[in-house]
Symmetry: C3
Subunit: 204 residues, 3 copies
């Protein structure tokens, strides 16, 4: 089996998302069922909600053996080597940012293929990249990180808009626009994480 | 663009639902992403769950530019003029009750069009009118207002049953039955709110 | 109306799931709307998520009058005779285990009929048997019992794997394999409950 570069990037993202779910499960002292379930829900939740909204069933993860294997491996590694894995913050953040970028573009492309309006496609991109984490937080009973901290959905949103605008209004080939958009998402995410940038929060 | 009276009522309802989501986001100190997301989820959540259950995809909000614009406007107004908006309780409650009434009937009509049994159509009406608020509360980590306080789903349920019974067993034209049912829902909701009527709660 | 033995088993399971939702609603002092809604969500939530994931809409409960009636009856009995019902722990646990077994096999069969890979079918079986309870806990703001306590999903998983392996690699007729798998799930569930067996929990 020969993986393309894109597949490798997506697998790294899936792996990181699953580790984030597994880590949440470990922090909540879930059992091994909870560990696997939360790793899966975090990794495939965003894409699943996207597929449900546009009616693309059976949803994508059901026929994506490679991702499913990556998720199980990620959950087990996170459980067995937890004290080691939690030190790899920077590496995992990078993989996670790559996942955010890749999944955003996948979501937008699926929306375009379904003939949906461009703003809705951007929303589908953000949903694909971020709603797995939202499900994770809601199930764990935590306030959604997505809505309260860090430049996360905002990075996805910025890259998604860039992708559509550049793809639509310039002559730059699709592959290149896609690479640029993913790079922008990864860069915004990682730079903001490094400098602890946050969006302003609402005040009552 | 010429809006019909029905569209105006639906937009007022959508606006009020979105304000309720935005208000919850502000009370939880969400950031601007959380503000927009929660306004959207509250406003379109009920209709989205209904569409998913009956297989009507892409779900309705994706092609409803007018509602989407109303939601964004509502979220921004709620954020910028929060101290003013929260004083408009009575006006917003009225809009919200109108939304509850309109969305209940829309849900029932979609169920009828899908050939579903009448009690299921009523359930779809109540789901359309109320499950956006349920999602809002679950995401915020609050006990669902829907299940614990006030005559809300009950108003939707009463109006929905009336709509089906009167439409099925009397010769009154559909438009008129619909107007009566919405009026009944709005009236029950607002009168019970004014008098602080509540359903009896279960005791363990 | 003549019920088959399988229908009786499924109804007992549905009844027990609904009672578990109703009991949670009563413990949270929900009103009668919350009581009915949580009984329904607990009883039909797993099958609904399964149907959504594979695109089988309108989802099953909408045309299953018998189950819907059982759910309403269960919710009302739980509410009216609460102090009596809560003493029937063992009987309800048995019904609940039967439901877990039956719904697991139903979910797997639906996955097989949709042509999905065998591990995904097992996942659909576990989802059908357990995700109603997950929704119940998330809505109530409780940590999911499914992920933190008891041999529940694990029983479903073990029986599901047995069902597929025995059905695929032996000449035993389907009906018999199904009966064996359900019996195994019920037995694992009830024996582990009696002895208070639990899966090991993760430690951070």
């Amino acid at each position: 089996m020969q993986l393309t570069f894109i597949q490798v990037l997506e697998l790294l993202g899936t792996f990181a998302f699953a580790v984030s779910g597994a880590t949440a499960a470990i922090n909540k002292s879930y059992d091994v069922i909870g560990l696997l379930a939360l790793a899966f829900i975090t990794a495939i939740g965003g894409g699943t909600i996207r597929d449900l909204l546009i009616g693309a069933t059976p949803v994508a993860w059901m026929t994506d053996e490679l991702s499913n294997t990556a998720i199980i491996v990620a959950a087990l590694i996170a459980a067995v080597f937890f004290s080691y894995v939690k030190k790899l913050t920077r590496l995992l953040s990078t993989f996670d940012a790559i996942g955010l970028g890749m999944f955003t573009i996948t979501g937008i492309n699926k929306g375009l293929a379904a003939g949906l309006p461009m703003p809705v496609c951007v929303a589908l991109g953000v949903i694909t990249g971020t709603f797995g984490g939202l499900l994770r937080d809601v199930i764990c009973g935590e306030q959604p990180i997505l809505f309260t901290r860090e430049i996360y959905a905002a990075a996805s949103l910025a890259g998604g808009i860039l992708y559509l605008v550049a793809g639509h209004y310039t002559g730059i080939p699709g592959d290149i626009v896609q690479s640029i958009a993913v790079s922008v998402i990864v860069t915004i995410r990682l730079v903001s994480l490094r400098h602890n940038w946050q969006l302003p929060r609402m005040r009552a």
